[in-house]
């Protein structure tokens, strides 16, 4: 199979598990880690099911997050509601391209890419699509690393709500979209945390074993 490391021992095959918290390697029969007391398991429990469930929730939340206003601005008695996309267009029209790109990647691109990347990872771990575990491992690592940066939009709302309190002149209040968007970010972060990249290698191992047995039966 592509990219599988041959003749290298994997911890689970030896009955050993690395603790998720303190990284001590101990026999799975110990049940709890002898060093830090965390429950030991070979793979994150129910990894793919949990990831998919959290991701579906995130995908559903993504719709109100983009439709509902994340904040409303009342300027001289006139109220305008601003969604993520309109905020982005404002920056683009004001010719602040770098900041528009930052906002675009943090609040639209990263959540979408994250959802797609996790679907891809789950499909690969289930063996639905062929994959190279090395590359997908990197994809997972990046997904986990970038997730937090989507929160920037929520912080911008928080800062504007605090600072733009100018009585009759201009007032900013948070909108329901902010809650939905924060939900998307938190759910995708939990989804990424519950995925176990070791499953990608398990799938490759399974495929290699199947190919081996097929070869044997052909020979017979």
């Amino acid at each position: 199979m592509n990219g599988i490391c041959k003749n290298i021992p994997r911890a689970a095959n030896q009955g050993l598990a690395g603790c998720h918290v303190c990284e001590k390697v101990s026999l799975i029969s110990a049940v709890n880690c002898p060093r830090c007391g965390t429950h030991l398991h070979f793979r994150k429990p129910d990894s793919i099911n949990r990831t998919i469930a959290l991701m579906i929730a995130a995908a559903i939340m993504y719709i109100p997050a983009n439709i509902l206003p994340i904040m409303s601005i009342r300027e001289l008695g006139v109220t305008t509601e601003s969604t993520i996309v309109t905020g982005l267009i404002q920056f683009w029209e004001a010719r602040s391209y770098p900041i528009a790109i930052v906002i675009f990647s943090a609040s639209i691109l990263i959540p979408l890419l994250k959802i797609f990347a996790l679907i891809w990872l789950c499909a690969a771990a289930k063996g639905i699509v062929p994959h190279s575990a090395k590359i997908l491992g990197k994809v997972y690592w990046i997904t986990e690393l970038l997730g937090r940066w989507s929160m920037v939009d929520i912080f911008v709302v928080a800062i504007l709500v605090t600072m733009v309190q100018l009585g009759n002149y201009m007032v900013v209040t948070p909108g329901p979209g902010a809650l939905a968007f924060a939900g998307v970010v938190i759910l995708t972060m939990f989804a990424a945390m519950s995925f176990d990249p070791k499953l990608l290698w398990d799938q490759l191992e399974r495929e290699a074993a199947e190919a081996e047995s097929e070869k044997n039966t052909e020979r017979e």
Binding site: C5, I8, P9, R10, A11, A12, Q14, L16, A17, G18, V21, C22, E23, K24, V25, C36, G37, F42, F91, S96, V102, I103, A106, A133, K134, Y140, W141, E144, R148, W149, M151, V152, D153, I154, F155, V156, V157, A158, I159, L160, V161, T162, M163, V164, Q165, L166, G167, Y169, M170, T173, P174, A178, A182, M189, M193, P197, K198, L200, W201, D202
Partner: protein, 239 residues
């Protein structure tokens, strides 16, 4: 044997070798100790490959032989650095919360931004959950992280473990992904650009303290390998 050995990647430069050696002998108690027993193993987080984790020189790193992800690294002067940076971070947090962050003059009025103020404004305007989230990600988690690092690593400098150190360390590894100081700083920059044409903005001491806090937190967290911290706790005899 069913495991394979591998070489460590040495990243130290030769010119630093002598000063490093001097430092190491002086701080001999401070280099990464290994708990009794062995051989010690390390499992790759990504591909589950089993390795034998042998002691490596300070400043070097070990990568997984199968997938190439970093297994662990032996940071030089790790404990001293963690303690120094996290103590600094705690002091900076005091400054961030007490000194003015950014103030804005517009239409004869002045508004001031503070971290708790941002969370409070959201809660007052009816976004209770988002407000609590902002408070959690920018105030509570950095406090748990840096306070926890001081509490755990300070006594470890003298080879002792503080009561409940293991519980605190567990909590730190749980809260680490939710520390969003650097994201908040990006948010500040974006909103400054949004407000820049609208009003006159003044950067307070709090803002610069916040930027420094971001660096200190990042340096403190990166200064020690998780595995080293737990090994040290085990050697110090934490219950």
């Amino acid at each position: 044997m069913w495991y394979r050995r591998f070489g460590a990647v040495d990243t130290t430069s030769r010119s630093n070798e002598i000063t490093r050696k001097k430092l190491r002998t002086r701080l001999s108690i401070l280099s990464w100790p290994k708990p009794k027993g062995g051989p010690h193993h390390a499992v790759c987080h990504f591909c589950d490959t089993l390795h034998v984790a042998e002691p490596i020189p300070e400043g070097s790193r070990v990568d997984c032989i199968c997938c190439g992800a970093t297994l662990f690294q032996n940071r030089s002067a790790s404990l001293v650095r963690v303690t120094a940076f996290s103590v600094t971070a705690l002091f900076l947090m005091l400054v961030v919360h007490s000194a003015p962050f950014i103030s804005m003059d517009a239409g004869g009025m002045r508004t001031v931004l503070t971290l708790p103020g941002a969370a409070k404004a959201l809660i007052d305007d009816g976004s209770l959950i988002v407000g609590c989230g902002v408070a959690l990600f920018t105030i509570v988690t950095p406090l748990i992280l840096s306070g926890g690092l001081v509490y755990v690593c300070g006594p470890l400098l003298f080879g002792k473990s503080a009561p409940g150190a293991k519980m605190v360390t567990r909590w730190m590894s749980r809260t680490e992904p939710w520390n969003m100081i650097e994201v908040f700083l990006l948010g500040v920059l974006v909103s400054l650009l949004k407000l820049g044409h609208l009003a006159e903005l003044h950067f307070g001491v709090g803002f610069w303290a916040f930027a420094a806090l971001m660096f200190c937190m990042a340096a403190a967290v990166a200064a020690i390998d998780k595995r080293e911290l737990w090994d040290r706790l085990e050697v110090a005899g934490a219950p």
